[in-house]
Each structure stands twice: as structure tokens, then as C-alpha cells.
């Protein structure tokens, strides 16, 4: 009898514990999801203006999205979108190649500059990222890349320039591909290049996809480099600067709800890519060939 009540009270306590945990989780989850819901609601809000006295919109409309794509007189959103897409595709190709090449070399090939290179990468990583941004601007200006359409080239160079320094994750992954595979291939007469392209890369699909996606996303997310390099050339703006501009004093009243719409539009593809990538990210951390 006594044992039974003891079991029951333990059960009861566990039930109470579980309830508390779930309630706390629900509250936290609400806090985390709340701003996202609010933006989605705002993007459909019919009342104009940045600040309104009611929390939930009174009436809903699709005009904000329509305005984003039709009102191109001041802030040309479709053009910004195309600019960013172009930059993202080019930068993605370049930096994916750089990251994978450097990581493979550091992981597999033994050469004199290997250690010095890794030390250098670590030291460079400690400098404030955009400390050199002004200097980069001067350099790009000196070779004439800061006018007109060449700004896009300048931005591509900026986004892929440092790619060779962010090799840690991919190198960690390549380290987990068994070296015996390489040795077997060498015995069969493969060159190192063939091993890289025909064996290591196919075995490392998760990290290749991860690298492609992260480097594709960078131009959509960065806004400081783009701002410094574009300056006043509004026809070269990327999406990030456009959205930031919509919140400036002169535009915020008429563009606020469109900003929310733009934010939602940008977030959807990024969110899909991210949720898709998350799996590869976890895989990338845990290694290529599972034993």
C-alpha cells in the first residue's frame, strides 16, 4: 500500500514537472515566433504608416506586395532582386571552388606552406572584418571597379575574396573521409586531381551542398559591404540595402508595410534553404562515411 502511494506520487510529480516544462517551452516558443508572425501580419496590413495604435491590423490587403513590384520609381525592388541574384550566383561559384580547394589541400596534401597558411588564416580572422573595408573600397576604386555595372564585379570580388580563409568546417569534414580510400586510388594509378574530383567530392556531398548554400546566401544577408561599395549608385543596390533604406526617415511612412512584405519575400527562400541545409549541416559535423 505504502509502495503504491509512493509510485503514484512519483508519477504525479513527473506529470507536474512535464506540464511545467511544456508550458515554459510553449511560452518561449511563442516569444521566438511572435516577431515573425507580427511581420507576416504587418505585410498584409491595409493601414499605411509605420506606427499604428492597434497591434493587430484592422483590415488586410495584398497591395504591399503589389507595390513592391510595381512602384519602381524610388526604390526599384525587382532590379535590386536581380542584382542580388546575379551577384549571389557568381560569388557562389567562385567561393565554393575556393573553399573546397583550400580545405582539400589543407586536409589531404602535405606541403610546406600548410601550417603557415593555417596560422595566417587564424590571425587574419582576428581583425575586425570590415576594418579593411574602406581600404578595399580604395583598392577597387583604384582599379576602376566602383562605377556603373562594374560595381557588381566589385561586390562579387568582395564576397568571394576571403572565401579561402573560411575552410574550417569543410576541412573538418574532409578529415573524416578515410585516408585509406585515397591510398587505394593512388595504388590504382589515380592522380591527386582525380582523387579530389572523382572520389573525395562525391563522398562529401553534404559539405559541398552546405558550402554552395552558405556562399549563395551571403550576398542576400550582407549589407555593410554593399552599402560602402554602392554608395549612391541606387541602380546597383542589393536587396539588403533596399530594405534598410525603406526604414529610413524619408521612406518609412509610405514604405513600412512594403518593407514587411519584402522581408517576408526574402525570408521565405532563405528559410527554405536553411531548413533544407540544416540536415546537411548536422551531417557535415558528424562526418562522411559512417562506420
Amino acid at each position: 500500500m505504502a509502495a503504491k502511494t509512493k509510485v503514484r506520487s512519483a508519477k504525479k510529480r513527473r506529470f507536474i514537472n512535464n506540464t511545467i516544462v511544456h508550458v515554459v517551452l510553449a511560452i518561449l516558443a511563442f516569444i521566438w515566433v511572435f516577431p515573425i508572425i507580427w511581420v507576416i501580419l504587418t505585410s498584409f496590413r491595409a493601414e499605411k504608416g509605420s506606427y499604428v495604435s492597434t497591434f493587430f491590423p484592422q483590415s488586410f490587403t495584398l497591395d504591399n506586395y503589389v507595390k513592391l513590384f510595381t512602384d519602381t520609381s524610388i526604390l526599384n525592388f525587382p532590379q535590386m532582386f536581380m542584382n542580388t541574384l546575379f551577384i549571389a550566383v557568381c560569388a557562389c561559384i567562385l567561393s565554393t571552388f575556393y573553399v573546397l580547394a583550400v580545405s582539400y589541400c589543407l586536409s589531404r596534401l602535405k606541403f610546406k606552406l600548410r601550417k603557415p597558411y593555417m596560422n595566417m588564416a587564424m590571425i587574419l580572422g582576428l581583425f575586425p572584418g570590415f576594418m579593411s573595408m574602406i581600404a578595399v573600397y580604395f583598392i577597387l576604386k583604384a582599379i576602376g571597379l566602383t562605377e556603373g555595372n562594374l560595381i557588381k564585379v566589385a561586390l562579387i570580388l568582395c564576397y568571394s575574396g576571403g572565401a579561402g580563409l573560411s575552410f574550417q568546417i569543410a576541412k573538418g569534414f574532409f578529415d573524416t573521409v578515410p585516408i585509406a580510400v585515397d591510398e587505394a586510388a593512388l595504388l590504382d594509378g589515380c592522380t591527386r586531381w582525380q582523387i579530389f574530383t572523382k572520389i573525395t567530392l562525391p563522398l562529401s556531398k553534404p559539405i559541398v551542398i552546405y558550402t554552395v548554400l552558405t556562399s549563395f546566401m551571403a550576398p542576400w544577408l550582407d549589407f555593410i559591404f554593399a552599402k560602402v561599395i554602392c554608395r549612391a549608385n541606387s541602380d546597383q543596390y542589393t536587396v539588403a540595402i533596399g530594405l534598410w533604406n525603406m526604414l529610413q526617415k524619408e521612406y518609412i511612412d509610405s514604405w513600412y508595410t512594403s518593407f514587411a512584405a519584402g522581408a517576408v519575400l526574402i525570408s521565405i527562400p532563405i528559410a527554405i534553404l536553411f531548413l533544407f541545409m540544416q540536415r546537411y549541416y548536422v551531417d557535415g559535423m558528424s562526418g562522411a562515411v559512417k562506420g
Binding site: 515566433v33 581600404a135 526574402i266
Partner: protein
């Protein structure tokens, strides 16, 4: 263990520069002057000609531009831009003055090119010596096609590393050296030194460390806040993210995937978007204040001073950083947590430990052990965390109108303000260097004791 490890050469080769100078034949010695000469004689015509072409190109460059660039580097230009009244056309004409910034840039680039040239020269010498030795021993000397083929095999690292290295050199190292040079000049809007400026040695450092001046006092207060911010931002995220992932990973928690999804959703939204949204929500007339008024928690015309009161602003950015950062921490820590051996927990439970004890005696030490490198990177990332501060508060509120920094400005956002808004480039560069020194000391001290240093990796 001594701090300095003895240098061990893992790549011994008989073909070194000293050996080439000491033991090389006539043709090898001649290649010291005429790069590639030895190669041409010893069956490597194309390679030799390429070396020769590099040398010719460098010499032509130096004669046409390089020497001039280097000679100007000392004075950084002297000719001022002048306004001259053109009588004939009745207009003011500007004469072409020297632009110190370009002189400095070209000078630094020339120095880098010269260093590259020295490397090429050493390479040429070694290669000439190697060709000579192999030829004399009657061994096979690679011809050009074979050299190219070796790029795909034993020299693959040269093929793969060269393009990224060029990019890093041109877009990371060159700007960095350029910027470091600026720290020793008077390149700033003060006293109108935007066109012409001079070397001033350590003046800027002195000005910044002089705590009686407005610049000096701003520096110390910004530095203090940067360290406080980095500490709280790193550890609040770490502890909170860890507790959250422990709670989600608990055996009895239902719908683990759903909870994780809720939190990860917010880091799927681009960071600058969510930060801008947060900023507008926390304005005096923003959504949060409106919600609080509607709920009757504050008076109808009152608003909470999220970004207008210094202390409120500082707490707000740290709290919002938790909101932004915890999902990432959650993602990264979940895997590590699942790797903690289950026997440890069972043993602890058998011994009668409660949840708090288990956390502090098992989970936390294990996590700290595994994630020290991660913590260091997060800490350095937070010291350099430009996005959160700039997009949220923009460094506001400014309490001292004379100083150039607000109460939530970090060293990096202050650097940005000084260079982009105020055009005090020299002070900005000094701040960048100091940030680097602080981070380097912190990172060195911790890395040396960490597992990853002892196994492999940098340093």
C-alpha cells in the same frame, strides 16, 4: 614543455637557395642575375623563358612606375591642390595635387609585389639548381608538359591554392597592411588632411590612450562596454541555449522536433531582417509599447525607453542578442549534448544526484571541455559583432554630445562611425589594431591550453 618548439623541417630537400649559391655551377649562378638561365641550358626552355619574362616584367614595371611609387612613400606627396584663376576663361581651375591615399596604396602594393618577386627569384634559383643537379647526374629533367601535368598530381596544392591566395592577398592582406599604415598617419578630417597627409608615428596611439582628452575617455568607456557586452552576449547565449537544448532533449519532452523547429525558424529569417524588425518593434511608438498599452500594463501615453535610456539600451541589446543567438547555439549544442556518454548520467542517478547536481558536475564540465574553441570564436565574434549593435541601436543613445560614440557603441561600430561618418581614418585604423591586439591576446592564451591546439590546427 617549452613555449617555443624547436623548428623541425618536415620537408627536407637538397635543392635550397644556399646550396645553389654555394655549390651551383656557372649557369646556376648566372640565373641569380638572369632568372631562368639555368633552366634554359638544362632542357627546361619554356620554364626558363617564363622566369625570364617575370623578371623583365618586374624590371619594366619598376622603371616605369615602381621606383617613383616607392620614392614617394616617404613623404606621401607634397604638391597641394590649388585654385588658380583662369583669366582667359574667367573660371577657377584646379591644379592636380598629390593624393596621399593613392601614393600610400601604390607604395604598399609595390612593396608587396617586390616581396613576391623575391619569392619568385628564390624559386628560379632553386629550380635552376635542381635542373643542373639532375642533368649532371644523368637523371630525367621534367619538360614543360610534364611540369604542367605534375600540377594535377604531386603539385596539386599549387594549382588549388594559388587562386584563393591571390584573392586573399589582394582583398584581405593588402587592405589590411594599407589600413595599418593609416594608423601612423594624420589622414583625417581634422585639420583638413583628406588629400595630403604625413607620417606622424605613434601620435594617434598617444591621443587615444590619453584619458584626459575626450577621445581617450571615449575609448576607455567603449572598450569597457565592449568587453562587458562580449562576456554577457557569449555566456548568456551559451548557458541559455544549453538549458534549452537539455530541456528539449529530456526523455519526457513530447514533440521534440516541433519545439526545435519553432526556435530554428527564427534563425532561418535573415539576421538583418529580424534585427530591423526588432528595432521598429521596440521604438517608443512601436508594436511592443502599443501592445503593453493595449493590455493596460503601462499608461496610454507612456512608453518604455528601450533605446533612449543608456542602461535600458544596454540591457535591451543583450536580451535581443539572446533572442537572435540562442537558436544557433541550440543547433550547435544539440549534437554535442547527445554525445555525452549515457553511463555517466546513470551512474550519477544511482548515486542519488539531482538534476542540478548532474548539470553542474557532468553536463557543464563536459560541454566546456568540448566547446572551448567554439566559445572562443563566439567571444571574438561578439567583440566584432557589428550587425546586432548597428542595426538595433546604432550605438544610441548618445549621452555625451562631445564624444563620437553612444552608450551602446562597441569598438567596431565606433570604428565604423569614425571612418565612414566622421572620416577620421587614422583613429579608426588605430582602433582596429587595438581590437586585434586584445583579441589576439585572448585567443592565444586560451588556444594554447585547449585541446584543438595540442592536436592540430593553428599555432
Amino acid at each position: 614543455m617549452g613555449i617555443r618548439k624547436k623548428h623541425v623541417n618536415n620537408f627536407p630537400t637538397p635543392y635550397t637557395c644556399t646550396a645553389a649559391i654555394r655549390e651551383g655551377g656557372m649557369e646556376t649562378k648566372l640565373s641569380m642575375v638572369l632568372m631562368g638561365f639555368g633552366n634554359i641550358i638544362h632542357k627546361q626552355k619554356i620554364k626558363g623563358l617564363l622566369y625570364l619574362a617575370i623578371e623583365v616584367a618586374y624590371i619594366v614595371f619598376m622603371i616605369v612606375n615602381g621606383i617613383q611609387f616607392l620614392s614617394m612613400l616617404g613623404s606621401l606627396g607634397t604638391v597641394e591642390q590649388k585654385e588658380i584663376w583662369d583669366e582667359a576663361n574667367q573660371i577657377y581651375v584646379y591644379t592636380k595635387g598629390d593624393q596621399s591615399i593613392l601614393i600610400l596604396l601604390y607604395g604598399v602594393a609595390t612593396v608587396l609585389l617586390t616581396i613576391l618577386m623575391i619569392c619568385a627569384w628564390r624559386g628560379a634559383l632553386k629550380s635552376a639548381y635542381k635542373a643542373e643537379c639532375l642533368d649532371k647526374q644523368g637523371k630525367h629533367v621534367n619538360n614543360f608538359v610534364e611540369d604542367l601535368k605534375s600540377l594535377l598530381h604531386e603539385n596539386l596544392h599549387r594549382l588549388l591554392m594559388t587562386p584563393p591566395m591571390i584573392f586573399i592577398g589582394a582583398l584581405t592582406i593588402l587592405p589590411l597592411i594599407f589600413m595599418i599604415c593609416m594608423a601612423f598617419t594624420n589622414y583625417s578630417k581634422i585639420d583638413n588632411h583628406l588629400m595630403l597627409f604625413d607620417w606622424v608615428g605613434l601620435e594617434n596611439f598617444k591621443a587615444l590612450f590619453d584619458s584626459s582628452s575626450i577621445l581617450g575617455s571615449t575609448f576607455w568607456s567603449v572598450l569597457g562596454w565592449t568587453l562587458v557586452w562580449a562576456f554577457f552576449a557569449t555566456f548568456s547565449n551559451y548557458i541559455f541555449g544549453m538549458i534549452l537544448s537539455i530541456v528539449i532533449n529530456r526523455k519526457d519532452t513530447k514533440a521534440k522536433g516541433f519545439w526545435r523547429f519553432c526556435f530554428v525558424l527564427s534563425c532561418a529569417v535573415p539576421m538583418f531582417v529580424s534585427l530591423l524588425i526588432m528595432r521598429t518593434m521596440l521604438q517608443p511608438e512601436g508594436a511592443v509599447n502599443v501592445l503593453l498599452r493595449n493590455l493596460g500594463l503601462i499608461a496610454p501615453d507612456a512608453s518604455l525607453p528601450f533605446f533612449t535610456d543608456p542602461t535600458w539600451a544596454r540591457v535591451t541589446v543583450i536580451v535581443i542578442n539572446i533572442w537572435v543567438g540562442v537558436p544557433y547555439t541550440l543547433l550547435q549544442l544539440t549534437g554535442v549534448l547527445q554525445n555525452i556518454p549515457g553511463e555517466l548520467y546513470e551512474a550519477a542517478r544511482v548515486d542519488g544526484a539531482n538534476a542540478v547536481q548532474i548539470f553542474f558536475k557532468i553536463t557543464l564540465p563536459y560541454m566546456l571541455y568540448v566547446t572551448t574553441p567554439y566559445l572562443i570564436t563566439t567571444f571574438t565574434g561578439n567583440v566584432n559583432n557589428f550587425n546586432v549593435i548597428y542595426l538595433l541601436s546604432g550605438g544610441d543613445p548618445v549621452t555625451n554630445l562631445e564624444s563620437t560614440a553612444g552608450s551602446t557603441d562597441l569598438l567596431v561600430t565606433w570604428l565604423y562611425k569614425l571612418t565612414v561618418d566622421k572620416q577620421y581614418y587614422n583613429i579608426g585604423a588605430v582602433i582596429g589594431i587595438l581590437t586585434f591586439i586584445i583579441l589576439a591576446i585572448a585567443a592565444l592564451l586560451t588556444y594554447r591550453n585547449s585541446k584543438s591546439y595540442k592536436e592540430e590546427g593553428g599555432f
